[in-house]
């Protein structure tokens, strides 16, 4: 291997082979424990204080969990369901499972029982390691339908002391079992780790999927380690990075950033105190390396805008002025246009007054590399954060590619591409316009689903299902999900996600679904953002009782209408997309919710399902009437269902000519 010789020449040579002593995660963690004995591997905020664990602790804790699982009889190939918020204990459980040749299966912690049951049963999980009582209760309820599930291990004993169900034990108890087992079998752990090879399945990530039932994507140690290393080399990541692990462990993105890359590079992972404290903890940690789906960037932007609205006017005017200026500057920079000299001169002043303090406040002062991933981001949102001097880049990937396919290079970030393929990744476009790729990260197949595997994986090439193309400079452009893109009667291309992202730039719009396939024109179903619109209403003295009530206020319709008009105006200026302006819209009576299967757990709109569920609303949008009654089934957190009734107004939107 001569690959280490030249790392100056782009593109960096891709790693393709792994030495046998570092070809699985448990082996890497063991090496880290020796190399970085005293270096912090993972932190968790607990009881109001950041508690740190070194790589030595990481290894020892995971080892005891592994031995405990061995004492319970975990055999090679057994599946272990992992359910809960990002907790060091659960990451250790992932490594512990891998150490014994078992396969961890992380699940979304907010899954309702039905979803949990499907995956636990399909994966034939014999063990589950979970965070707390909530997850234990869910699993106990579905245990009867999951014949393989024998043992449930929980970390937080709160509320569980009186449970007497067989097969239920605390992590503490499991580790105690491990200690005893380790004393009786001193070489067990090392022997099992030694049996592991690069091509063992390291994890099964069930993809939420915007269509049909979840599929279990099998990724090997080789897939993950090579993909992680190639990206680390490409991005120049170091062992002193700090990341915040706050996205679901079941999402491949978290697995690659908070597990694979952390172990491969030795950097520190920080687990927030609770889901509600993420933004606060973000500020305390001030990560150097940060990843977020567009949804989170939007949320952060919304909180900034709400706070700005509440500020006194001189402050507000100053901040507005500098933000607008920086965004104009950044937009020109991204388009490769000439920068105006006075703006360039003023930028440092803006940094001193606005951008710097704002970044500090958001916990983004130390960010060296940040990604937006999972979905296309609205250009305005992207520009906003880049304008603050934050190195946000678009990343493209999917579970089947071990999360990563393409990343924008630091010196070549553009608005409308997702960058160039990472080292080791080949991409091409099929005749139908679909993006295909081949890489060391290509998954081993879907668990127990050869048909789906065959449809997706052909001669090593993966069909992404995304429509896109490579531009002249080799940048990959993604248009939308291939099956969602269509043409309107006048020939205008209709890519719903593009319009929705434009709408979602507004802090008042939380979610939007644009309809136009096989229709004469484009219409939109809109979800308001309760926090932002609620705050807006309060400032205007508009009283409301509930989400549904607020959503149907005429003033709120006026507000959203002006946002739709803004989108239409910008579309009207675009010769290609002028015909795709939104003609009619309505505001939905409830938030789209993964529990109602309207969006996935990673917040992707499930169009097919929405078209079906809201068929009456969509028909009304293409009808004559200016309102429509709706009766909807809602699923509560505990899985019960109920119905709600509402009368939704329909508005015509202002349309702009060129």
């Amino acid at each position: 291997m001569t690959s280490r010789a030249r790392h100056t020449a782009p593109p960096a040579p891709a790693a393709t082979a792994l030495p046998p002593e570092e070809d699985t995660f448990p082996k890497l963690v063991r090496a880290n424990a020796l190399r970085w004995e005293g270096k912090v591997a993972i932190r968790e905020k607990d009881y109001g204080i950041w508690q740190s664990y070194t790589w030595r602790d990481y290894f020892e804790q995971a080892r005891l969990i592994a031995l405990g699982l061995a004492a319970l009889g975990l055999a090679r190939g057994d599946k272990v369901a992992i359910v809960g918020d990002n907790r060091p204990q659960l990451y250790w459980a992932v490594m512990a499972t891998q150490a014994l040749g078992g396969v961890p299966v992380p699940l979304y912690q907010d899954s309702i029982e039905k979803e949990l049951q499907y995956i636990v049963d399909h994966a034939e999980a014999r063990f589950a390691v979970v965070e707390d009582q909530e997850q234990v209760d869910k699993l106990l309820h579905v245990k009867a339908q999951c014949p393989h599930l024998e043992h449930i291990v929980y970390d937080d004993p709160r509320g569980l002391r009186t449970y007497t169900e067989p097969g239920l034990l605390s992590l503490e108890r499991l580790q105690a079992l491990g200690t005893t087992f380790g004393a009786d079998h001193p070489s067990w752990f090392d022997d099992e780790v030694a049996k592991g090879t690069a091509d063992d399945v390291a994890i099964i990530c069930y993809t939420s999927g915007t269509t049909g039932t979840p599929k279990g994507t099998m990724l090997s140690h080789r897939n993950l380690i090579l993909t992680a290393r190639n990206a680390v080399a490409h991005e120049g990541l170091r062992s002193d990075e700090e990341v915040l692990a706050y996205l679901p462990m079941a999402w491949v993105g978290d697995h690659i950033f908070s597990y694979a890359q952390s172990i491969a590079t030795g950097f520190t992972v920080n687990c927030p105190e609770s889901a509600a404290t993420v933004l606060h903890d973000l500020r305390e940690i001030a990560p150097t390396y940060f990843f977020a789906p567009p949804r989170i960037w939007e949320t952060i932007l919304t909180t900034v805008m709400i706070r700005l609205e509440d500020a006194a006017w001189p402050k507000r005017a100053t901040v507005r002025f500098f933000l607008d200026m920086a965004q104009a500057l950044e937009r020109r920079r991204l388009l490769g246009q000439q920068l105006s000299p006075w703006r360039t001169l003023l930028y440092p002043l803006g940094y001193l007054l606005v951008y710097g303090p704002l970044r500090d406040n958001l916990g983004m002062r130390r960010i060296r590399v940040a990604y937006t991933a999972g979905e296309a981001i609205g250009p305005e949102i992207f520009v906003f954060f880049r304008a603050l001097g934050i190195n946000v880049k678009q990343l493209y990937g999917m579970t089947e590619s071990s999360a990563l396919i393409a990343i924008q290079r630091d010196d070549d970030v553009r608005l409308d591409t997702v960058g160039t393929p990472l080292p080791g990744v080949e991409t091409r476009i099929s005749e139908g316009g679909e993006v295909l790729f081949r890489s060391p990260g290509v998954f081993k197949g879907y668990y127990k689903n050869p048909d789906a595997t065959r449809q997706t994986l052909e001669d090593g090439w993966v069909h992404t299902g995304d429509a896109g193309f490579l531009d002249g400079d080799g940048h990959l452009k993604i248009v939308d999900r291939a099956r969602d893109v269509s043409r309107l009667p006048d020939g205008t291309m209709f890519a719903p996600k593009y319009l929705e992202n434009k709408l979602k730039f507004s802090p008042y719009v939380r979610e939007a679904v644009c309809v136009g396939q096989d229709r004469p024109f484009v219409t939109a179903l809109i979800n308001i953002d309760l926090a932002a619109v609620g705050n807006w209403a309060e400032r205007r003295g508009i009283a409301y009782t509930s989400y549904t009530d607020l959503a149907q206020k005429p003033e709120v319709y006026d507000l959203i209408h002006s946002e739709v008009a803004r989108v239409n105006r910008s579309l009207g200026e675009d010769d290609v997309l002028r015909g795709a302006q939104i003609r009619r819209f309505l505001i939905l009576h409830k938030e789209l919710d993964p529990d109602d299967e309207e969006i996935t757990r990673t917040r992707k709109v499930r169009r097919g399902y929405i078209a079906q569920k809201y068929a009456a609303l969509i028909d009304a949008l293409y009808g004559e009437r200016d309102h429509v009654e709706v009766e909807a089934k809602v699923t509560y957190e505990d899985g019960r269902t109920g119905t709600m009734r509402a009368d939704l107004k329909i508005r015509e939107a202002e349309v702009f000519a060129g």
Binding site: Y47, G48, I49, R158, G159, T162, S274, T277, Y636
Partner: protein
């Protein structure tokens, strides 16, 4: 899933009568609270439920009758002394320090446990510092327990009602009470908030072994979480037993749930 009530009598209210002028709020009421149980006190408006809690917490003194706590007569103690004995309570109307943060509010629940001189406290030095840290650590356990980490530094007055109720409970728990009195802990809450609150009450009972007496109107909640139910009507105790017994009791049905007209 209910535990069998453990370990003996914690508190006895013996033939207590409370009079406000001509009005008899409680008439010869006797109630025993067993150690470790969750006791619900129910009854129509004006039945004397809150008065009963006030008598136990020393806010009112009975015109007649005795209160025995842990085997000793505690009839005539003032509220602070009662609190020092390990009886904490929450109020029907939220009573927090609105301008103080949630954390500081809960810390006030530890006041009775703090010793030391004013000077040392002011200087935050030596034992005072150590003591502050210990109490803070305990309060953090409560914050974790009630899952209110996200509002630790928020002024209590800014919080929605459901959360204020929760903070009030946190403050009461911070005092590590033997007996916790809750006056309508779920009033004005929606179904989800109520469910959360039920879980917290049961968890506190299981985790800290706190004996709990609560007033509640939601019969679903009462039936779900209590080991025993006492029913008051016009200042008299008309029933006392397990939720099932009380549900079937004809006197309760007539007085409280209304006479059936079938």
């Amino acid at each position: 899933m209910r535990r069998s009530a453990a370990g003996g009598r914690l508190l006895e209210v013996q033939d207590v009568t409370v009079r406000f002028g001509a009005l008899i709020a409680l008439a010869d009421v006797s109630v025993e609270i067993e150690r470790g149980e969750v006791l619900a006190i129910i009854g129509p408006n004006g039945a004397g439920k809150t008065t009963l809690l006030n008598v136990i917490s020393g806010f009112y003194h009975p015109s007649h009758g005795r209160i025995v706590f842990e085997g000793k007569d505690r009839t005539r103690l003032a509220p602070p002394d009662v609190a020092a004995l390990g009886i904490a309570r929450t109020f029907q109307n939220v009573a927090l320090f609105k301008g103080m943060t949630v954390l500081d509010n809960i810390m006030t629940g530890r006041l009775l446990k703090m010793k030391g001189s004013f000077l040392l406290e002011a200087l935050y030095w030596g034992p005072a510092q150590r003591q502050e840290l210990e109490h803070r650590a305990f309060v953090e356990r409560i914050i974790d327990f009630l899952e209110i980490q996200a509002i630790r530094k928020t002024p209590a007055g800014k919080l929605p009602y459901g959360l204020q109720k929760r903070v009030e409970l946190a403050r009461a728990l911070a005092a590590e009470p033997t007996l916790l009195l809750l006056d309508e802990p779920m009033a004005g809450m929606n179904v989800e908030e109520k469910e959360d609150m039920c879980r917290v009450i049961l968890d506190a009972n299981a985790e800290f072994g706190t004996t709990i007496a609560l007033i509640e109107h939601d019969m679903g909640v009462v039936m779900d979480i209590s080991d025993r139910v006492v029913v008051l009507d016009y200042g008299r105790k008309i029933a006392d037993g397990s939720p099932e017994q009380v549900r079937k009791d004809q006197a309760v049905r007539d007085a409280y749930l209304g006479v059936s007209h079938e």
